[in-house]
Symmetry: none
Subunit: 267 residues, 3 copies
């Protein structure tokens, strides 16, 4: 019994660890989705840019909003923000702490998506192959401008008959993938350095205030959970009382009925 | 025993979490079904549209109705709605709260199905390949209109001899898949933004009324469950009493029988 | 011990949930069986139809009868129907309620089998490929009628040398699978709509009568179970008494025997 109570208490007291878990699952789900969806560039000059950038930036927005929706702390924060001021005064530091922790967790999955697409490179090749400078690559320089535009738009499609075994296609593709991966690694490095500084430098400044804010945010969370549980407990007790009352009165009716039956039998 | 009681109480008090679980399972089952059923477009001009749109829209209707059927809250709501007015007055807010929560949960699986089919793109390619404008794609422009219609209808079938290694087939397929995925991501984004607004803006308005409605819906659910349990308990006690009575009278008969036997033996 | 008693009580009081579990297991077993059995069409004109329709309709009959056999409620219903009329009058509504609930549960597994075969499509292709109109498909139109019949019968066999890489074979197969899946989804949709109407409209009419019938069917079930248990208990006690009596008398005989032996020894 204690084992289950311990697990329950763990999930009750440690909203943060549950949130970390949800944040991790969301990140994995995003990456899994990217790898399982068949990404096929339309290879038409007017659609390429929109499709490539759409695949790169629309899902991160969806993932970011998902992260905000799934985070239980966001509800805690909103209720703390909109509650009437009672005896416990509202502390802006607590709300700020909650807000920053929600944002940090919601940013993980979108950042992972963008970095994965950049490291993979297909999206960037699809988006920017039309806007390359054709003079940099030998084969294209001879063709007419309209033809060049169409050829460049077909760079992301490997199976295209015109482009199969075309050296320039491979050169453009290599060039763009190189830029895409460079961009991806740079963003990853910058994010990790930022996380590192936030974690190592913050304790040197206002550690006490931070710990206090964290403690209070934790307190608000636990208060809400215990309130909900006590509500359930209360309504269960109330329902139990009502139903017992109903059955008591039914039993009395049955007794009266059987008494009258036995009297009839006597009579 | 306490362990089991705790688990039972968890499932008793938290109908909502059970419903969330059922809703998630239904969604996963739908996606699993889509991936395991062999989707094969008939590639006949007069059937393509019906088949593609049928696969896209008939299963969501089935999933939506399944979500309504499996949701225990729907029964709770119907009984609350049709119960005679006793001492507890009927609260429309509670019924509205229950109804909206049922609808929300029933919409998840169909929405997931439609988005998955759109992101996959096969259904849309099958449905709309015949209604493409053939002049956009080079190879088809030379053929006669009837032939073009037949060729366009065979776009979704990769193995078709006429179409294998046909560049235009791939172009039409890419173009339609691009539109399909764009549509899928747009719908996903719109749904997530709607969910986000519903979750973040609602607490700013009538949070207290919402919490009250939720509390009462919870109470009704618990009351029904305890009533059913008490009925079972009651009928078990009653049956126990009846059977004990039967055995008592049987024992007396046996005693009488053995007495008469022993008298016969004495006699 | 209390733990086990609770579990036993759960299974005792909730016969319905056990039946739901059995019904679900039977459905899963049916689907698992269909996927694990190697379905291979004979591809002979005179056997195809019988084989395809046999696989589609014989197992559902077996599953339906299995559902009736495994359902404990069917025994309860039969005994309620054939018991002598004592003080508790026989209620036709109870028997009707039991009968309908048994039928509903027994129908789930066969319906699932038929829908799975239709969505898979192999059975229907095997059954009806010979009766297709050959004029609809280009390749067959040139051959003689007997040859066409043989070719059509070989449509379900992919590996057949004549048919490998034959475009018309694939066209016939696609056409029939499209019809099969359309039929499967339609049946599924109709069943789900029927279940939905039964569940949502019934509470609006005679909910009280239904609840009463359900309560009494539950009572009869519990009464039978407690009767069986009490019988067991009773016969154990009786056997215990008999055996003790036997050992008592044996001990007395041994005493007498040893007395007589000692007397013989004394004598």
């Amino acid at each position: 019994m204690d084992r289950f109570r311990m697990i329950f208490q763990y999930f009750q007291s440690n909203s943060e660890s549950v949130m970390n878990g949800i944040c991790g699952l969301l990140t994995l789900a995003g990456i899994k989705m990217y790898t399982s969806i068949d990404f096929s560039c339309p290879c038409l000059p007017q659609y390429n840019m929109a499709y490539g950038l759409g695949i790169m930036f629309v899902p991160p927005i969806a993932l970011f909003l998902c992260g905000l929706i799934l985070n239980r702390q966001s509800l805690v924060m909103l209720e703390e923000w909109s509650r009437p001021q009672g005896r416990r005064k509202k502390d802006l530091a607590v709300i700020r702490y909650l807000c920053s922790s929600i944002m940090q967790r919601a940013m993980v999955a979108p950042a992972a998506w963008i970095i994965v697409t950049l490291l993979d490179g297909k999206c960037l090749i699809c988006a920017f192959s039309s806007s390359m400078d054709p003079e940099k690559f030998v084969d294209f320089a001879s063709a007419s401008p309209v033809q060049v535009q169409q050829l460049l738009a077909k760079v992301p499609c490997k199976d295209e008959e015109l482009m199969r075994n075309n050296t320039s296609r491979k050169a453009v593709s290599r060039y763009l993938r190189c830029w895409s991966q460079a961009l991806g690694w740079s963003i990853l490095l910058i994010l990790i350095i930022a996380a590192f500084l936030a974690r190592w430098l913050r304790p040197c400044f206002n550690q006490a205030a931070l710990l206090q804010a964290r403690h209070w945010s934790n307190y608000i969370d636990i208060e809400q959970k215990i309130f909900e549980e006590t509500c359930c407990e209360h309504s269960r007790l109330f329902a139990h009382k009502c139903i017992l009352h109903f059955f008591e009165s039914m039993r009395q009716e049955i007794k009266l009925h059987s008494c009258s039956l036995s009297r009839e039998g006597e009579g």
